[in-house]
């Protein structure tokens, strides 16, 4: 049995920030990550981040990841475990882990005084005929192929979804030399940042708002996609179909929080559409209804990575503070972080998120 003050599950932007913040006060932190690398989705983000200097705005995502990983590795109070999957949380609070080592799997048990769950999110899918043809990918897979493995997913892509992820990946496809035939979204308006939409548009990629995917066709891989306009009930309008010859379709229709640990840990859960699905109720310091379980990042509700980092810092500071670790700057710092977070959720794009967060407090 491994004993630690704080166990953090998930080494993405919020997990890394939580570890750094929690370790500041002297708490012993253990950070586990399923993948070989720390950084989560940051590893694949080649674009510059939004936000302010405090969240590394204007720095590219992968460079932010490197900085955070460096900081974590330089801390004496943080033990890091990569290639380690958290399997479950038991009634006595013990968390079990499976660590890959060479060709073996090692089974570990951890008793932590507190747990911060930063497990991120899962991609949503879309039902349509032949959606299992090779060439039809989730957005995350396309980004992993391209930016992690340096493999082009194909020659000509139809992007389904004009949220930030769909827009950003379309741009990255263009940068990789892949043609983007168009971006469609059933919503009447572009969901992602307009600056992203404009920069793709001026590279010649059309954006079809109010369109949905009707079917995919191909013998042993995707060859053709049919799209159509939707009516006000989001149903395809007959006669408005357009055919597109594409060998890749990238499905980018949103994310849903990865919530298994909260269910298993007994946290009170709430379905919040604005946040992407089931999320644990939590107080402003991100403590769930189970006193020693904290939440941060996309598993708390789908948002931008800049907010995920700030949430991680809040949860990390709060968790160590609640365990009695004294950190002199605590009060000032946590208030500043809470204000930062509120700032990031301001403006017209934040309306949705603000509405969602009003439903999960306790």
């Amino acid at each position: 049995m491994i004993h630690t003050d704080i166990l953090i599950i998930g080494g993405g932007p919020s997990g890394l920030c939580a570890a750094i913040a929690a370790a500041k006060s002297g708490a012993e932190v253990m950070l586990v990550e399923r993948s070989q690398y720390f950084g989560g989705q940051l590893v694949k983000q080649t674009h510059m981040f939004f936000g302010s200097e405090k969240q590394y705005a204007a720095t590219r995502g992968f460079d932010i990841g490197k900085k955070l990983v460096e900081e974590v590795k330089n801390s004496d109070n943080i033990k890091i475990f990569h290639s380690t999957t958290a399997l479950g949380i038991y009634e006595d609070g013990v968390v079990t882990l499976e660590q890959k080592f060479e060709s073996e799997e090692i089974y570990l048990k951890v008793q932590a005084k507190s747990l911060i769950v930063t497990t991120g999110a899962l991609e949503k899918s879309l039902p349509f005929p032949n959606n299992d043809l090779p060439g039809i990918y989730g957005a995350g897979a396309v980004q992993t192929l391209m930016n992690e493995y340096l493999v082009k997913p194909g020659k000509r892509v139809l992007m389904v979804g004009a949220g930030n992820i769909g827009l950003i990946i379309s741009y990255q496809l263009l940068q990789a030399g892949v043609e983007v035939a168009g971006i469609i979204d059933a919503s009447p308006r572009i969901g992602g940042y307009l600056v992203h939409a404009s920069k793709i548009r001026r590279s010649g990629v059309p954006i079809f708002t109010g369109y949905t995917i009707v079917k995919a066709e191909g013998t042993d891989h995707l060859e053709k996609a049919t799209i159509a306009k939707v009516d006000q009930h989001w149903k395809p309008i007959p006669g408005t179909e357009k055919e597109m010859n594409v060998d890749v379709m990238c499905i980018s229709v949103g994310l849903t929080p990865s919530s298994a640990f909260f269910w298993q840990g007994g946290c009170e859960m709430e379905y919040v559409r604005e946040l992407g699905g089931y999320v644990p109720k939590r107080n402003r310091y991100l403590r769930t209804t189970v006193g020693n379980i904290y939440v941060a990042g996309d598993s708390a509700g789908i948002e931008e990575a800049s907010s995920a980092m700030v949430e991680g810092s809040i949860a990390g500071l709060a968790a160590s503070h609640d365990l009695g670790f004294v950190y002199e700057g605590y009060n000032r710092e946590i208030e500043e972080l809470l204000q930062e977070l509120e700032g990031l959720r301001g403006g017209e794009k934040g309306i949705h998120i603000r509405r969602g967060y009003n439903k999960v407090g306790f």
Partner: protein, 167 residues
């Protein structure tokens, strides 16, 4: 239109341009930022007070065109690639434009390439005057082009060499 197609309208564009009088005085920034998203690195990059302090991080940038000297420091700091600098005083027939560019191959100094509008359609050939690609730009290169005056307000992008989109 912007929210439906990603293309700002002429009215949107007019709103972010300075007066003709200011344009004729020399280089000045154009920030095509139309949405209140949480973002302020343009302000952080500006050292002359041209982009004013934000009250809220979601404010749209406020430009003081008299203070802006067109130094270009903000161009590659904008994560949205929404900023360019225009020098209307450059030449009697040409406007000098400095735009952000994140594609390879980079254009070469001296070559004439396609100037594209906000839909990505070719408008006119433009001449590449310089390519700035230092550590400060951090891979968001700043390309300086000369654009025939009749077309400058339409140009917002370039297509360099064999476009990688078609390779």
């Amino acid at each position: 239109m912007l929210k439906i197609s990603g293309v700002p309208s002429n009215k949107d564009i007019d709103q972010v341009f300075p007066s003709q009088e200011r344009l004729e005085k020399g280089p000045v920034v154009i920030v095509e930022c139309f949405e209140t998203i949480p973002c302020n690195p343009c302000y952080t990059a500006c050292h002359v007070g041209g982009i004013q302090a934000f009250k809220d991080i979601t404010d749209l940038p406020t430009i003081d065109f008299e203070k802006c000297n067109g130094c270009t420091m903000c161009i590659s700091s904008c994560p949205g690639l929404a900023i360019m600098v225009i020098d209307y005083s450059y030449h009697k027939d040409y406007v000098k434009m400095m735009i952000p560019y994140e594609f390879y191959p980079l254009p070469k100094e001296g070559e004439w390439i396609k100037g594209l509008d906000r839909r990505g359609a070719e408008v006119v050939k433009v001449k590449v005057l310089s390519v700035k690609n230092t550590k400060y730009q951090d891979k968001t290169q700043v390309i300086t082009i000369a654009v025939p005056k009749a077309h400058y307000k339409k140009i917002r992008n370039i297509e360099a060499g064999d476009s990688n989109a078609k390779s």
